[in-house]
């Protein structure tokens, strides 16, 4: 691995490559900030610009856009509850609450730091175990993917607050909205009422912009407009306590993101939701989640970054895209005459290792760029809302239009903006709806494929060790409110008992 790293550094560390990497992360950050565009569209738009570059330089710049967009998307999610990417939806829950409390600086900084740490860890893992995980991912057939999707849907329990039926209803609505359009199994157009625009389904990104950006904006107008937030400089900086609280969530988010990112199609969005779900289940401060807890910002962002790096495992090692952006990047590989697959690591080591090393460089550049700028970005909240909300509408509608160059997208944003406003007023949870919308199509695809595979055996194909393990995890998650409540009742003084036990152990050691 050391030799490979040497090859990579020699290839990637030329002045030209570092410069284009910087341009890539900068452009990516701008693209990420704009709601709707996202890394996949950004990379696709800018492929023609790189056609005159050498393949390595071009791929380094495109990968820079990919990484930059992940962070840029979080900036607006935290500051104005407008997620730039699907994966940053979850950052609005706690990040925006932190911003409203005058802690936008620490939220942005911890997001950048958590993303950096997870990127570094996942990159080392990527370099060390890419072929192993790629083959493991190949063993993940439709039944295993179905189990993963069931696990994903079960996280609705975590996002439902205390009214589980309402959370469940929101999740089901998300799945039903995802049913609109051409069915993945048979190609039948469902609930389209003859509208060509609906053949591709209700566009997820536009729904998200409407629900979160316009919905929150109308809600703020209802509340009498948010006052400008003038935070003291020291409140814009991270504290030791923040860093301490962020350590475990970063680790958990990185592991979840990396494992899910290895699976083709699982995507970074699912990773961010599941990381948040894990925090809701395991974090010491789980009760504070949703009210502006740092754990709710750092864990999803760490998971998103780890997943976006792990997405390259199936892409590079198998030639199977891990997600939407890596699918576009796969297209770029083919444009430059490079054939990804098992032989790529052997045939073009300079290109592969140069690209992987450029991820390190890109992430360092992102950290250098964004960590000092976090308090500066936070100053945006000083702008009066009378000027801010027209700008939010402009970027939302422009961003939505840019996704497909279609007016249909603009109308979807406005309609779902009203839905989002109603949900805010009624205090309905939005996260389960988004989760249902994201997982719905993936769940149906896996279900159809599994039913084909099962044939006459029914769903006996689900009885593999991996599938059963995942399903047990899902069952544990669903029943967690029940058994946690029982455990709490049985051990009313659990923390005190734990402390006493620790004390006794210390005493015995002494």
């Amino acid at each position: 691995m050391i030799e490979n790293l040497q090859i990579g550094f020699e290839a990637a560390l030329s002045a030209e490559n570092v410069l284009w990497c910087f341009v890539g992360v900068l452009l990516g950050t701008i693209i990420g900030i704009l709601p709707g565009l996202g890394s996949a569209t950004g990379v696709a738009i800018l492929i023609p610009v790189t056609l005159t570059f050498s393949p390595l330089t071009a791929l380094i710049m495109l990968a820079g856009i990919y990484h930059g967009a992940q962070f840029g998307a979080t900036i607006t999610a935290i500051l104005i509850a407008t997620p730039g990417e699907a994966s940053s939806v979850i950052s609005t829950l706690d990040g925006y609450q932190m911003a409203r409390k005058g802690r936008a600086g620490p939220a942005l900084a911890i997001s950048a730091l958590g993303a950096f740490v997870s990127a570094m860890v996942s990159l080392v893992a990527l370099m060390a175990v890419a072929p192993f995980f790629a083959h493991l991912a190949l063993d993940f057939g439709p039944p295993e993917m179905l189990a993963i999707m069931i696990l994903g849907l079960c996280t609705i329990v975590v996002f439902s607050g205390r009214n589980l039926p309402l959370g469940l209803a929101m999740g089901l609505i998300g799945v039903l909205i995802a049913c609109i359009g051409v069915d993945v199994g048979s190609g039948t157009a469902r609930y389209t009422f003859g509208s060509v625009e609906l053949f591709g389904g209700v566009p997820f990104v536009e729904v998200m912009i409407g629900l979160f950006a316009i919905g929150e904006l109308l809600n703020q107008l209802h509340l009498g407009m948010a006052a400008p937030i003038k935070a003291r400089f020291r409140d814009l900086l991270l504290t030791k306590q923040d860093l301490k609280r962020a350590t475990a969530p970063t680790a958990r988010g990185t592991v979840i993101g990396f494992l899910l990112g290895c699976l083709p199609g699982a995507g970074t969005t699912l990773a961010s939701f599941m990381a948040y779900g894990a925090e809701k289940t395991f974090s010491r401060n789980r009760k504070k989640l949703g009210t502006g807890a740092i754990e709710g910002v750092v864990a999803p962002d760490a998971a998103t970054n780890a997943a976006s790096n792990a997405n390259f495992i199936p892409t590079l090692a198998l030639g199977v895209p891990g997600g939407a952006t890596t699918a576009v990047l796969l297209g770029a590989f083919l444009v430059y005459g490079i054939q990804p697959g098992p032989l790529l690591f052997e045939n073009q080591p300079e290109l592969v290792w140069g690209l992987l090393v450029s991820f390190f460089i890109g992430n360092v550049l992102l950290l250098v760029l964004n960590l000092p700028l976090a308090p500066v970005f936070a100053q945006l909240l000083r702008i009066r809302y009378a000027f801010m909300y027209p700008l939010i509408i402009v970027t939302s509608l422009l961003g939505a239009y840019s996704v497909k160059n279609s007016m249909f997208s603009v109308w979807v944003v406005i309609i779902f903006g009203l839905v989002g406003y109603a949900m805010k007023r009624l205090n309905f949870p939005m996260a389960p709806l988004v989760l249902g919308l994201v997982i719905g199509p993936l769940f149906e695809k896996a279900l159809v494929q599994t039913s084909v595979l099962a044939g006459d055996d029914g769903f006996a194909v689900l009885a593999t060790p991996a599938t059963l393990t995942i399903l047990v995890l899902a069952a544990t998650l669903v029943t967690s409110p029940l058994w946690r409540g029982r455990l709490r009742r049985r051990t009313p003084n659990a923390p005190e008992q734990g402390k006493a036990k620790d004390h006794a152990e210390k005493g015995s050691h002494e």
């Binding site: 701008i30 693209i31 565009l37 950004g42 738009i45 800018l46 439902s160 607050g161 205390r162 009214n163 039926p165 309402l166 469940l168 209803a169 089901l172 609505i173 799945v175 039903l176 049913c179 069915d183 199994g185 048979s186 039948t188 469902r190 609930y191 316009i214 109308l218 107008l221 209802h222 009498g224 009378a386 000027f387 909300y389 027209p390 700008l391 509408i393 402009v394 509608l397 422009l398 239009y401 840019s402 160059n405 007016m407 603009v410 109308w411 406005i414 009203l418 109603a422 009624l426 205090n427 309905f428 949870p429 719905g440 769940f443 149906e444 279900l447 159809v448 039913s451 084909v452 044939g455």
Partner: protein, 176 residues
Amino acid sequence: MSSPVPAVPRRPVTLAYGVIAALGAAFCVGSFAYDWSNEDGSIGSAVLPRVTGLLLLLVGLWLVRQELRGGSVREGDGLVVADEDHSPDEARHIRRKLVTVVATMVVTALVIPILGLLLSLTLMTLFLTAVVEKQSLLRSLLVSAMTFGVSYLIFVALLRIPLPLGLLDPAVWSVL
């Protein structure tokens, strides 16, 4: 400040739960237009919407029942607190502003095919800042001009996204 809502059925919440149940019923009934299974024996396009729709109908009815039985005042459960501490005049002003902003968005979307996207959004910004928010004309013009400039720079010059120009499109004029 905010005050808890008494534990009685709340009409907007009951109505919303009813809409949820109706949505489930609509999807469930609509799914009968599609096949339950495909020719190869795999799951058909009706399965997911029918099962999910039915589940949503049941959950929706459960929520309505729960609400009618005394209005469950719980966290994440709709209108937990009444947050309006506005006077009737303020409330009326806010309602009017909300309607105006939504109407402005709708009108903007309608005029995009005529005036083009950037110009429509710039005019919308000008209207919202100068008329709705009653900011000075100079400030409003400045904000609108900056919005146009930055949007043009990013979307047109940098990302080269073909934004609609409406009747200002030279292609339209060349035909005439």
